[in-house]
């Protein structure tokens, strides 16, 4: 057990020059993004290339992408905890941290998209002198409530298993972090009562958060599904969004596992077997997603309703064909071609690369869900076109850098692998596998 302590605390105790260099580079990119946002706020939302009829562009696509990415933690950690899969132990914390950070980034995109952001609090349902009351008819309002619930719940869900680890850190780590750990560990001493309460709370919250997770991306799907826009108005959108989110989320976990394992030499904890399991999960999500995609396109294509077909044609053979087929290769063909091979799945670098492709593909997919249907409204005189402006692109790159930066900082503050759960696995004697 002391070796577990030593190995897993090591990342918190030292930092190489390369680490600081990384922080500086990321910080600079974040600053660029922040500057672009400042510029946009200062000069107006017209700095984006959003214009009728295309009123949703890459900001909203990024929002969907990051909310989707946040399904990594809840799915991997929640579902695996529920099913008591032993191999979850070294994976859960990495995934939960991702959930937490992706949700923060996703929330940021809501604000990027707001016209007068400094008025954001008029969105909240509280009595005010302008007698504004939230419009519950709008799925965006459902979305706001769901994302708020999800963010609160997943923060709690990240925090709960951290309490015993904070107590450990309180004793092992000095300096400016010590008082923080002391507050965060809530006087944890590890008594029977405390363990019992913690485990009960986890047992109650885990299934709830899995349900919230499903509801969140369903509602994001309904943002589109309940509208009458051709190619959005589809019953399949809710499940389709949920599966897509899990797809990119699991892909992200593969990236995280690989990078952290490589940097902090966690090979003893994150084994190739974990990549094997992740790879299998990805095959499942690929197949389900492809199935849903096919079902949706088939239904539209067979009906041949002209307003829908404008969109589908634009995707398959029209102006959006290049990104569309590139996306299909990234999220369907590459995972299927590689991850179905057992030997490949045990190759961590390979699984990580597939995760990268999946996430690039899923980002494009989010944009393709948004833009083409908006480009071809029912009245052709009104058709438009859209490509993000430099402000939009800078903000997107900046926020990606922010996500990585937050993760890099978090690694110095919390153990990336849940220490007590790892010890528990050791004692159960069934560390990996079932």
């Amino acid at each position: 057990m002391s070796s577990i302590n030593r190995d897993l605390l090591a990342p918190l105790q030292s930092a190489t020059p390369a680490y600081f260099l990384l922080l500086i580079v990321l910080g600079a990119i974040v600053a660029l993004g922040a500057g672009a946002w400042y510029y946009q706020v200062d000069t107006g939302i017209g700095q984006t290339n959003l214009h009728p009829p295309i009123f949703w562009g890459v900001y909203i696509a990024s929002f969907i992408f990051w909310v989707g990415a946040s399904h990594s933690g809840t799915f991997i950690s929640g579902v695996l905890r529920l099913s008591k899969a032993e191999w979850r132990r070294p994976v859960t914390r990495i995934a939960e941290l991702m959930t937490f950070i992706s949700l923060m980034i996703a929330t940021l995109f809501v604000f990027f998209h707001l016209g007068r952001v400094w008025r954001w609090y008029y969105l909240m349902p509280y009595p005010n002198q302008r007698e504004l009351w939230p419009n519950f008819r709008s799925p965006l309002m459902w979305d706001a409530i769901a994302v708020f619930t999800y963010a609160t719940a997943s923060t709690i869900y990240l925090y709960l298993p951290l309490i015993p680890d904070f107590a450990l850190l309180r004793e092992r780590i000095g300096g400016w972090r010590k008082p923080l750990y002391r507050v965060l560990s809530l006087g944890w001493t590890g008594t029977q009562n405390q363990w019992q309460v913690l485990e009960t709370a986890l047992r109650i919250i885990t299934p709830l958060i899995v349900m919230v997770m499903v509801s969140v991306h369903s509602i994001v799907g309904w943002d589109f599904g309940v509208s009458l826009v051709p190619a959005w108005h589809s019953t399949i959108f809710a499940p389709y969004f949920v599966v897509g989110a899990v797809h990119s989320g699991v892909g992200l976990v593969a990236i995280g596992l690989y990078v952290l394992r490589k940097i902090y030499r966690l090979e003893r904890y994150i084994e190739s077997e974990h990549f094997d399991k992740i790879g299998k999960l990805l095959v499942v999500t690929t197949l389900v997603l492809a199935y849903l995609y096919f079902a949706e396109l088939l239904t539209i294509w067979y009906a041949k309703s002209p307003d829908h077909m404008w969109v589908v044609d634009a995707l398959l053979i029209g102006p959006f064909a290049v990104p569309f087929w590139f996306m299909a290769i990234c999220i369907y063909f590459i995972p299927l071609a590689t991850l179905t091979n057992p030997a490949f799945r045990r190759w961590p670098l390979g699984v990580m690369l597939v995760g990268v492709f999946i996430n690039i593909g899923m980002y494009i997919e989010r944009v393709l869900i948004l833009v083409p249907p908006l480009t071809y409204p029912r009245l052709p005189f009104n058709w438009g076109s859209y490509f993000p402006s430099w402000v939009e692109m800078t903000i997107i790159v900046g926020s990606l850098a922010l996500a990585v930066l937050l993760y890099a900082l978090a690694v110095k503050f919390v153990p990336v692998i849940s220490i007590w759960e790892e010890k528990e696995g050791l004692v159960h004697g069934t560390r990996h596998g079932t």
Partner: protein, 339 residues
């Protein structure tokens, strides 16, 4: 365990996890150590039998009740909106039942999760024994048994032999003091300070006044989109007929008090409280000239207001009052001639 008192002594014994016999707790119980005075600390949850019985906490029930409260909250807020505004939109209530379902699902989950968490926090805090620091060796895998006993009892002897027999690696005594270790008070103050700062920061956006300063629609302002001069809403004549003369007069008097009396005075003589601030003296409505005007002319005045030399002196009421309300007011103004 409650806070330790002056007359207690704390006995702490460390065990190897493998060496820790499950029967120890049972033996201690027989030796008369009360349940509340025993505590076992471990680096991971122990599920073996024969441990200290945890104090019951109906966390499941609390979660369910909180969930129900959240459900009701969601139904009241979302469904209540639909009841307050009974407007059918797209063939369904403004907040349709499925939507109430979606929203109350989220509030239910939110309440259940947050309440579970908060209850757990309160429980953890109440567990805290400030006086006894935790042994760092616990995190390397040892298990610690902590007992608080009356300081001069014979029990102490017995308990020590029991612990030794059970294979304790180390036994230590503390004369318990109720003093709180140094860092704790500071931590509490830092936490409180951070919360206060966060709370104050929430107020920052309220400093901006741009919503007040913008050219928003003012009450009594004439509608910015005008209907053609002289036009009358189609439905107003019908509605007018449904009022008897007396009702119309009463309604007119009520509306006059609200909309006109501050300028024209409660009796219509033009001596309202704001007259001193007006550039133009409001007309005495009982004046034969005014009474000589036709009902249509009065209706026109009330609808479009009056301007003297290009400056508005009396506001237009076509945005403020509906057509039949304007009719009622006019009827009332007409009635002022018979004192």
């Amino acid at each position: 365990m409650g806070p330790v008192t002056e007359h207690e002594i704390t006995v702490r014994a460390l065990f190897e996890p493998s060496g820790y016999p499950e029967s120890l707790v049972e033996k201690l119980r027989q030796a008369g150590v009360p349940e509340g005075a025993m505590e076992i600390r471990s680096p991971l949850p122990l599920h073996e039998t024969g441990l200290v019985r945890p104090a019951p906490l109906p966390l499941h029930r609390i979660a369910i009740i909180a969930g129900l409260v959240g459900l009701v909250l969601g139904v009241v807020v979302a469904g209540g909106t639909a009841i307050l505004y009974p407007i059918m939109t797209g063939g369904k209530p403004i907040v349709a039942p499925p939507v109430v379902g979606i929203i109350s699902f989220e509030t239910m989950m939110l309440m259940a999760i947050v309440t579970t968490f908060v209850t757990m926090l309160i429980r953890l805090r109440s567990e805290r024994r400030d006086a006894v620091e935790r042994d760092p060796r616990i995190d390397d895998g040892l298990i610690e048994v902590v007992l608080s006993l009356p300081s001069n009892s014979v029990q102490l002897q017995l308990v020590q032999t029991l612990l030794k027999q059970a294979g304790a690696l180390e036994i230590r005594h503390h004369h318990a003091t109720s003093s709180i270790p140094p860092g704790v008070e500071l931590d509490r103050r830092t936490t409180a300070g951070m919360l206060v700062v966060a709370w104050l920061l929430c107020g920052v956006p309220a400093c901006s006044r741009d919503m007040q300063d913008q050219s928003s629609y003012q009450s009594q302002e004439a509608p910015r989109i005008h209907s053609p001069k002289g036009s009358v809403p189609r439905d107003s004549r019908l509605l007018r007929k449904s009022l008897t003369t007396q009702e119309e007069l009463d309604e007119g008097a009520r509306l006059f008090r609200i909309n006109c009396s501050h300028c024209h005075g409660r009796d219509g003589t033009g001596n309202g409280p704001v007259v001193a601030y007006l550039k133009e003296q409001p007309a005495d409505l009982r004046d034969p000239y005014v009474q000589g005007l036709s009902e249509a002319a009065l209706y026109d005045t009330v609808t479009y207001g009056l301007a003297v030399e290009g400056r508005d002196v009396m506001p237009a009421f076509q945005g403020e009052l509906s057509a039949e309300e304007r009719h009622s007011v006019v009827t009332y103004v007409k009635s002022l001639s018979q004192p």
